[in-house]
């Protein structure tokens, strides 16, 4: 839905102050005109000279959307910028529709877009003409980790027991997780790889999200499942599911389960999210945007957001982030090819 929700009351006042003129720059995002509005030409010192527009390439409510809104809130309420920040949603094509639209803002540093690991895979999967190379990477910001769970009455008490059974008869373990080609399936494929199971023998059943996956685990439809820890937390606390391992590199504070690495399999995966700017912005502008986001990441508002959402602080900016995207692209392409999802 093309809904722009203002981050907060305070921010609304800003927007009201910035008046209609500045507010309408917002429309460049959906007007699809390449000009990028009037605010694009400011020098680095003046940045930002207009309202910051953040695109979430998905429906309201999901991870991209929450990230975008949290950034907007931290930017305004954290006092990083005075010009206001708006969020808008462009769903479709697993995020590639939004990406295609976003790169048309070429040269406008006030336009930002939330991206993440899932988008990297989606670009491959949908044969998108536009890729992340057409954007200017700004910063990686957050990471969420997957949890491996089984129903509470499952015979598997540890990850090792589950993996042994999986190794012995790969098809007998139906793994539940998120959509095809997403983080969850990549994790399960890497686990299969780690115990020497052919990825092609993997019995992975995709679900459209926690809403579908949770009942499938509770009803015993799937033997085991991998998905975001936050989605299962309540069920784990209530004793309906057993948490076997988490996908982070280091143990997560307050979570009573080993990492997959500690459980004996050299696999870790982070569902990261970050920001990119449109192509063809100057180096100065790029530095200014990075500076703004770094400042945002240091605000108390942002740190509180990380804590309340259980997001790991995963900050990485500029060139290092560009390299990270490239390496992610390589490993994800490899895994998706093994899975037969892309050719």
């Amino acid at each position: 839905m093309m809904i722009s929700t203002r981050g907060s009351k305070k921010q609304r006042t800003y927007t009201a102050l910035a008046a209609v003129a500045a507010g309408l720059l917002a429309l460049t995002g959906c007007g699809g005109n390449g000009g990028g509005g009037g605010g694009g030409g400011g020098t680095a010192e003046e940045y930002p000279s207009a309202s910051i527009e953040i695109m979430a390439p998905a429906d309201p409510g999901g991870g991209y959307d929450q990230t975008a809104r949290s950034i907007a809130r931290a930017l305004t309420e954290g006092g990083v910028i005075e010009t206001g920040a708006d969020v808008y949603n462009v769903p479709g094509g697993s995020g590639t529709i939004g990406l295609t639209q976003f790169v048309q803002n070429s040269g406008d540093p006030h336009q930002l877009m939330v991206i993440g690991k899932i988008l990297v895979g989606a670009i491959q999967q949908t044969d998108s003409q536009v890729t992340l190379e057409n954007t200017t990477p700004i910063a990686r910001l957050t990471a969420e980790y997957d949890a491996i769970v089984v129903p509470a009455d499952s015979e598997y008490q540890t990850l090792e027991q589950l993996m042994e059974a999986f190794k012995a008869d790969p098809g007998s373990i139906a793994w539940g997780g998120g959509s095809v080609g997403g983080v969850d399936q990549i994790l399960v494929a890497q686990l299969a790889d780690a115990v020497g199971v052919e990825v092609a023998d993997l019995n992975y059943i995709p679900y459209s999200g926690g809403g579908e996956l949770t009942p499938a685990i509770l009803s015993g439809d799937v033997e085991a499942a991998a998905s975001g820890l936050a989605e299962f937390q309540d069920q784990i606390d209530a004793g309906e599911m057993r948490l076997l391992a988490v996908s982070s590199e280091k143990p997560i504070e307050g979570v009573d389960a080993p990492t997959i690495i500690d459980a004996g399999y050299d696999v870790s995966i982070a569902n990261w999210r970050g920001l990119v700017a449109p192509p063809e912005i100057s180096d100065e502008q790029r530095e200014a945007v990075i500076g703004m986001i770094e400042e945002m990441a240091g605000t108390q508002q942002w740190q509180e957001t990380l804590e309340s959402n259980n997001w790991d602080d995963y900050l990485l900016t500029g060139d290092e982030f560009s390299e990270y995207i490239q390496s992610e692209d390589k490993t994800i392409t490899q895994t998706l090819t093994n899975l037969g999802i892309i050719e």
Partner: protein
Amino acid sequence: MTSGRPEAAPHQRGGKSGIRIAAVVLLLGAAIILYDAISISERGGLAPGEPGFFPMAVGVGLVVVSLLFLLRTTLMQDKALFVYAAEEQSETHWNTVWLVIAALVAYAFVLQPVGYIVSTSLFFVGIAWVAGSRRWIRDIIVAVLFSAAIYFGFTELLGVRLPAGILQGVL
């Protein structure tokens, strides 16, 4: 069925040809869908658990029911349907239909570049004219107020983005 009976009213023939065209168009569409379903099956497999199974079932089903429908309009004529269609068609002002369709397509394409208020006002007045309204002043006032109200209501109150288009900077 009895296809040899002579036709009564001339307008009934109009109902016949229109519905036959519809049946042929339907069958062509069904054939394209079946063709695409075949290529999906080639890529994804045709077993019940594979991605090609349902598309194939739907493609074949659609071709079969389209053929049956064509049959009902030619060899085994459905008289009641002909009477119904003839009556409907005689009450349809085809020029209006084509004009409205053209206006809709034009509206979709100018919506973003020209902007919501202007394109909607033009569309509104245009359709009202096509529909036979000749009260220009009323229509223009209603059109402009209506589209401006929607624009501001949606962008300001509901937070939905609508394109400003050529009025960008003025609004």
